[in-house]
């Protein structure tokens, strides 16, 4: 039986340099104080830039993902049976440093007393220390997290770079809407580590001035940031059946490609605009319904301009009047996890009726004619908000979040 009502979000959790949990994340993005600092997690000698937004007490990625999944499930009020019915969609870059680290991982008992499955020392990830060492890789991590969280449904792993998590959410929503699944836990994680850091530094992607300034004049680039998040999506029927209280709806979603370049966005923003149009179309809502855009904007000159062009294409003249901010200016770019971290930001902003600040603002740029929230949080005027993401390969996603 196809689900006609929009999928619900019933639990969220996030970790970033702003702290652990949704309250810390919301407080941080509303305060608008960037969390960037000199990197101390690893040696940055020889790098052009040595700044990122990291949480000093963050543990191994597998541990943080397990913790996020458990926290989101608890927030959703999921009991053991509810977890057993849940699928897990994981978004991560994978690779050795994503896998459970025996030296760091704690006891591997599931939170509800179910059977233990200590992958850290197990054969499935025995190549974790090898180079390149992706044997088992992200699917093994997904299996580990699924068993540890007591999630009994199917697993999927998305490696679609910076739209991994948002694509996972779109797919989860589509499968729930079609009636294939009742509940999906989407989890995503990236903790700043030396390999990706070196790659972004080599690509001269980092802001040499140590600040992320989305849509602003004088923006120089992006900075990386920790991000681990989990979100529970459910069918409206499943939510009603167990008497849960949703925190938001996924009113619409869209995915589209640029067909333009391996690693540069279409300057006309056509792919992202089609993703926005698809999200609004699925929701059956006009552009006027959008009261906030949590932008993908990374602080990179050409890609922010491309996103502004996309918003102009998708929203018309409204693009200059809808409040927009990119919270990457505060928590940094969490790569594969960015879509989920920013979805949590958007859900929390919607719930609290306050829109986050776009930090790092130096002044308007004529290539980005948008209503950017530059000074202080603004009140939300409507019940819907968009969160946008874009990635290498011209991959674009739009998620339309609604009040429950």
């Amino acid at each position: 039986m196809a689900e006609r009502e929009h999928p619900r979000i019933t639990g969220v959790h996030a970790l970033s340099a702003l702290g652990r949990g949704g309250d810390a994340l919301l407080a941080g993005v509303l305060a608008g104080t960037p969390a960037f600092a000199p990197v101390r997690r690893f040696d940055t000698a020889g790098r052009r830039v040595a700044v990122a937004a990291t949480l000093p007490e963050a543990g191994a990625l597998a541990e943080e993902l397990a913790d996020a999944i458990d926290a989101a499930c608890r927030a959703a009020g999921l009991d053991r049976a509810g977890r057993a019915d849940s699928a897990l969609f994981l978004a991560t870059h994978g690779g050795p440093r994503s896998l459970p680290d025996p030296a760091v991982a704690g006891p591997d008992a599931p939170p509800d007393g179910g059977p233990s499955d200590r992958v850290a020392g197990g054969p499935a990830v025995s190549g974790a220390g090898a180079s390149p060492g992706v044997d088992g890789g992200p699917p093994a991590l997904a299996g580990h997290l699924s068993r540890r969280g007591g999630l009994g449904g199917r697993t999927r792993v998305y490696t679609t770079a910076c739209v991994s998590a948002s694509t996972a959410v779109a797919d989860a929503a589509a499968l729930i809407a079609r009636g294939d699944l009742d509940r999906v836990v989407v989890a995503a994680g990236y903790l700043v580590e030396p390999d990706q850091y070196a790659l972004f530094d080599a690509g001269r992607a980092f802001a040499a001035d140590g600040a992320v300034r989305p849509f602003s004049a004088g923006r120089q680039g992006l900075l990386l940031g920790d991000g681990v998040a989990a979100v529970v999506l459910e069918s409206a029927a499943a939510v009603r059946h167990r008497g849960a209280t949703p925190v938001a709806t996924v009113a619409g979603w869209g995915r589209a490609g640029d067909a333009y370049h391996p690693c540069q966005p279409d300057p006309r923003g056509r792919g992202l605009a089609r993703a926005v149009a698809a999200a609004l179309g699925r929701a059956g809502l006009p552009a006027e319904a959008v009261g906030y855009v949590n932008a993908n904007a990374t602080g990179t000159p050409y890609s922010d301009a491309s996103e502004a062009a996309a918003l102009r294409l998708a929203l018309g003249d409204l693009a200059g009047r809808v409040p927009v901010s990119s919270t990457k200016s505060v928590h940094g770019h969490a790569l594969e996890a960015s879509g989920l971290l920013e979805l949590v930001v958007t859900v929390l902003a919607l719930r609290h009726g306050k829109l986050p600040v776009n930090a790092g603002w130096l002044g308007p740029d004529e290539s980005c004619p948008l209503d950017v929230i530059t000074q202080a949080p603004r009140p939300l005027a409507t019940a819907h908000a968009l969160t946008l993401n874009a990635a290498f390969g011209g991959a674009n996603t739009a998620l339309l979040v609604g009040a429950p």
């Binding site: 390149p132 890789g137 997904a142 999927r156 490696t159 972004f200 992607a205 290498f392 390969g393 011209g394």
Partner: protein
């Protein structure tokens, strides 16, 4: 799902895979491009397709680009600097985007690391994108790179709604 066209790399008579500008060190991206060209060339004479074709690119790989990842890891561990081309080469999206740009495929780009049977998982993703309305066709590319440096192998399948060949 109906198979519109299919290609493999290698097929009988293939030699070394042609290089692709902008991609270095590893045969991962060149094999993706070669197998995609072969499959799409069997369905469409020459690129690009007309705009609005809404053809998705679904790339499924458990290994990912092992060779590039290993090179980056070793270089960073030794305190060296990686070459700038590895920046975008480090994610499978980039070569998927290369294929999309070359052929004008303007549907979604999705990369998966399979937790089950790769072709079934990729086909399920393609079917979802078509059913959900974001794509009209999907180019599914399955590629694995062995840890011992032997040449990569890949399959590409162009899928659309329907049944049979």
């Amino acid at each position: 799902m109906r198979v519109v066209a299919e290609g493999r790399w290698p097929e009988a008579g293939d030699g070394g895979v042609p290089g692709v500008a902008g991609f270095v060190h590893s045969d991962f991206a060149p094999v993706v491009v070669a197998v995609a060209d072969r499959c799409l060339g069997r369905a469409h004479a020459v690129p690009p397709l007309p705009a609005g074709n809404r053809t998705a690119v679904v790339l499924v790989s458990a290994s990912g680009d092992r060779a590039s990842a290993g090179h980056v890891r070793a270089t960073v561990a030794a305190g060296g600097r990686v070459g700038p081309l590895f920046f975008f080469q480090s994610v499978p999206n980039s070569v998927a985007g290369h294929v999309a740009a070359r052929w004008g495929l303007d549907g979604p780009v999705v990369c998966l690391s399979p937790t089950g049977e790769p072709r079934a998982e990729g086909t399920a993703e393609a079917e979802l994108l078509l059913h959900d309305g974001d794509a009209d066709q999907a180019l599914l590319v399955l590629i694995e790179q062995a840890p011992d440096g032997t040449p990569s192998e890949a399959v590409a399948v162009l899928l659309e709604e329907g049944t049979g060949q």
